[in-house]
Structure formats: structure tokens, C-alpha cells
Amino acid sequence: MNNLELQKRANDVRKGIVTAVHSAKAGHPGGSLSAADVFTFLYFEEMNIDPTNPDMESRDRFVLSKGHTAPGLYSTLANRGFFPVEDLKTLRKLGSYLQGHPCIHIPGVDMASGSLGQGISAAVGMALGFQMDGKSNRVYTLLGDGEIQEGQVWEAAMFAGFRKLDNLVVIVDNNNLQIDGAIDEVCSPYPIDKKFEAFNFHVINADAHDFDSLRAAFDEAKATKGMPTCIVVKSVKGKGVSYMENNCAWHGTAPNDEQYAQAMAELDAIAADLEKAGEA
């Protein structure tokens, strides 16, 4: 899929995120939007998956370690065809299968997550299992930059580096914001790349909103043998919705009706621009 197509899909994913969170009147739009391009690249380009056969044994696996950005994952899965896009409006509602944080029973979801720091360990375990059996499945996990303050992340990183799990890609969404403020003002995890290097990862810095950059990073990860890869993606929290960008107040807040209308108008304008770019 070319970059323009990916941009269109990512924009659809963003619309789904904003719609789901608005409908739920709760949820986490900021970190979902910052990771929307990464989600899109993984599910529309990178991973070996089949929406008509979500449990396919040979599929690559994805663990959303920063599980609170479930709206981003759900919108991507819906737009990829795992379940109806219309169902995104049931997010967080009683009786909906779209739980507030990823639940293993959702089509396309490989692991329950949401308690920060735990997803990466499960991803590491999957990668180890595939490595032990000589299987070619690859495992991807997405962490928040605030999440890496959790000690378990480093237990998992030490293990993955030691075990040389080259079928594992750890992605850190570096939007620089957490609930209480900027990550380097709350409890700085910087330098993120140097830390993962010290834990025996091959580390790549990439632009979370540039598909050429993401493509190059994931290709490099695939070519890396004998060690796991960490891709630190520099991102903008709330990316795509002007008033949410770089504002930690939108970490876990839903837009009201007026704000929702504005967000959708902005994303529709981007969609129109992308259509025009395609025709040109």
C-alpha cells in the first residue's frame, strides 16, 4: 500500500477513534491519535494477519501494552475488517464487546492489556515461544513513553535482550506527555534509545507520522538478527485534531458534541485534501 493510501486509512482510523470516544463519553483519544499511523502501518502493511481468520496460527501478534489507547487499536481493527466500524460507537458501553481496555475475546486482539508494563512481558513470552518452536511468527508490542516508568518493562527488556529475541519489535510511542504532564517533568525516562540499547536491543528512532520513516524502521527491524528491535517513534499526542495536539488534558477526556463536530470537520478536511492529492 502506498503512502497516500496509508494516510487515507490512518485518517479513517482517527475518525473512528474520535467517534468511539465521543460516543463513550470517556476514553483516551490523545495516545490513540498519536499512535494512529503506527497502528495503520502495522495492520495495513507490516503484519501477516487475516481479518477473515483472526485466529490464524501463522499470524503475527500484536500486544497493545499501552492498553488505554484501545480506541486506536479498535478503530484500526474495525477499518481493517475484523468487525464492523459501526460497532466502535458501542465502546465502553454495558454489554459491548469493546471493553474499555483490550479484552482477549475481541476479534483480532491477541492479548488482554491495560495494566501498564504487563503487555511487553506477554509479547516477550510469545516471541520466546515462537523462537523455541522455530516458527516464523513475528511479535509487535506498543508501549507508551510514560509506561516505561514501570519497572516490569525493564525486567521484560532485560529478558528479551538476553534471549536475543529477534522476532520481537518493541515500539515506544514518544509523545512526551502523560497524565500529570510532560514525561521529563514527571519522572524522565530519557534517554529512551540509550536505555534500550543498554538492554541489548537494536534501536531505531523514527517519525511516528511519516510512513517512509516507519517503513524504513520496520524493514530494518526485520533485517536485524540476533537481537530484538526497539523503535522509538517521535509523535504528537492528539495528532490530527488541532485542539488535542500536544495537550495532556486530552489524555483521557472525551470531546463534547461541539468539540466532536470540530474534530470530524478537521479530519474530513484532511480526507478531502488526500483525495485531491490522489487525483493530482
Partner: protein
């Protein structure tokens, strides 16, 4: 008495893993730098490629086990009960229990018979913690034979299981041809009509000893061995309570949340019956030999006998 065969259930655990390895090719064993103590060392020696030492990082170990289960393995996570159920509680709840993964937790060094290490390592809370997790099977075998049977049953069962093992050598009490193990089924090890003593783990032996002393006083005690604390064999307990009208529970665990609480949960709803709970009475343990501790805290046959007499 001196010639009774004794073996620690942690030894049984390690031996069972090794014995079952060929039959269960997907079985892998994880440790957190304690393979020598959890006795999984015998498995490690025989199947080094199937033993994963995670280093001193129990929370990650439980998560890795969850991932291994999702990749088709049947992982047995080994550590001391304090760290497997205590430190990694939330990982067990959220990464194993909530997604309902086929992860087995072999927790050794449970209860006060850890002995000399003292209160920091004497976990008297694990049964309570594990019972609260929806879907978790919780087992506490009483001897070598039951411990091995529980490991096999856990491997045959698909879903999360917690099995509690002890450090100290304990008598083999289930060595009879009729013995058979089933998850969720208790056994009447001594029939009686005056009082029901429900025991688990190493306290089953104490209960049998206490029943013998009570018999000398003309008290006919029924002794029930409950290995599976969850799901509890309610039918067996209700039938016995109906017959005797008085129930005593015995466990090497806090009286809050363990076997005693499970039995009370059942009886209070279905057949209100007076209950005396013997166990750690909301206190921490201390250093000492296993034998001295069991005696001090009234969990040996003499202690159980005394408590039952006071209760009746």
C-alpha cells in the same frame, strides 16, 4: 512412627514435572533464580531446553508465561508462594486470570513451615489471593502422592491453576490403592459422626493425628482432605456438616480468606453450622524450625486436638 516415609511436596513437584515431560511435550518450566529450591532443578537437568530461568523478576516471569501459553506452550511458573502469588498477584490476575490463559503456577515454600527464613518469606495469604481470581483453580496437596497427582491434573486441565507446595518433608498419607485424584473433589480420610475436621495441605496429617487423640476421648471425628480449595467440594462438606453439626477447618494459612473462609462461605449460605477456624490468627510468622513453628501456632496434631476439644 519413625519409619513413616516423608517427602516435601516441592520435591514431588519437581519430580512430577520431570516424569510428565515426555507425555506433555508442550510443558515448559519457568523459574526466577530459585530452581534449586523449588526443586524444578531435576526438570532443568533432564530438559534444559524446556526450562526458562527468568532471573529475579517474578512479575515479568508471569507475563512471559502468559505469552508462552498464547504461543501454544503449557508453562509451569515456579517460585516461592510469597513471590508467585504475592509480588506477582496483579500479573496473575490481569495477564493470566482475566484472559483465562493456560498457565500453571507452582508455588513452593508456602506457609510457616518455610521455617528459619522467617515472616518475610512465610506466605500465609496466597490461597486467599488466588481464590479471589475468577476462574482460577486453587490446589493445596497434602503429600507426595497428592502433589504429583495435582501436577498431572493441572496439565490435563485447560485453564489457569495455582498449586501450593511446602518446603518441609511431610509424611506420605495417601499411599493406598483406592486413592484417586480429581480437581474439585475432596476425600473423607476418616469417617466419624461427632465433628467434621476439614483440612488442607500438610494439616491433613495433623487432623488425622488429632482425630486419633479425640477417639481416645470417645469423640468420633470425621476428617476431610480438601486439596482443591477452589472449586470447593461443597457437596462433601455439606453432607458431613449435616451429619456432625460442627465443623473445624485446619490450614497452614491465615484464617482470613483461605480454606476456613471458603468452608464458611459455603456453610453460611447453604447450611449454617458452627465453625472453628484453625490457622494463622491474623498474625505474621517468625523464624524457627518448621516443627517448632507448627507446634507454637497450634497446627500440629496436639494443637488441633486442643482446639477441637475447646470448640466442642
Amino acid at each position: 512412627m519413625a519409619d513413616v516415609k516423608k517427602i516435601a511436596t516441592r520435591e514431588s513437584y519437581g519430580n512430577a514435572l520431570k516424569e510428565l515431560a515426555e507425555e506433555f511435550p508442550q510443558l515448559v518450566v519457568l523459574d526466577a533464580d530459585l530452581a534449586a529450591a523449588t526443586k524444578t532443578g531435576v526438570f532443568k537437568k533432564a530438559y534444559p531446553e524446556r526450562h526458562i530461568d527468568c532471573g529475579i523478576a517474578e512479575c515479568n516471569m508471569v507475563g512471559v508465561a502468559a505469552g508462552l501459553a498464547l504461543a501454544g506452550k503449557v508453562p509451569f511458573v515456579s517460585s516461592f508462594a510469597m513471590f508467585a502469588a504475592g509480588r506477582a498477584f496483579e500479573q496473575v490476575r490481569n495477564s493470566v486470570g482475566y484472559p483465562g490463559l493456560n498457565v500453571k503456577i507452582g508455588a513452593t515454600h508456602a506457609g510457616i513451615t518455610v521455617g528459619e527464613d522467617g515472616a518475610t518469606h512465610q506466605c500465609n495469604e496466597d490461597l486467599a489471593l488466588m481464590r479471589t481470581i475468577p476462574g482460577m483453580v486453587v490446589m493445596c496437596p497434602s503429600d507426595d502422592i497428592e502433589a504429583k497427582a495435582a501436577v498431572r491434573a493441572a496439565l490435563e486441565y485447560v485453564g489457569p491453576c495455582y498449586i501450593r507446595f511446602g518446603r518441609a518433608a511431610v509424611p506420605v498419607i495417601n499411599d493406598n490403592p483406592d486413592y484417586k485424584f480429581e480437581i474439585g473433589k475432596g476425600t473423607v480420610v476418616r469417617e466419624g459422626k461427632d465433628v467434621t475436621i476439614v483440612a488442607t495441605g500438610i494439616c491433613v496429617d495433623s487432623a488425622i493425628g488429632a482425630a486419633e487423640k479425640l477417639a481416645a476421648d470417645g469423640i468420633d471425628a470425621e476428617v476431610i482432605n480438601i486439596c482443591t480449595i477452589k472449586p470447593l467440594d461443597e457437596e462433601l462438606i455439606l453432607a458431613s456438616a449435616k451429619k456432625t453439626g460442627k465443623v473445624v477447618t485446619v490450614e497452614e494459612h491465615s484464617v482470613i480468606g483461605g480454606l476456613g473462609s471458603a468452608v464458611c462461605d459455603c456453610l453460611s449460605e447453604k447450611l449454617p453450622t458452627p465453625v472453628k477456624k484453625i490457622g494463622m490468627q491474623d498474625i505474621f510468622g517468625e523464624s524457627g524450625s518448621a516443627g517448632a513453628l507448627v507446634e507454637k501456632y497450634g497446627l500440629d496434631a496436639a494443637g488441633v486436638y486442643k482446639s477441637v476439644k475447646e470448640f466442642l
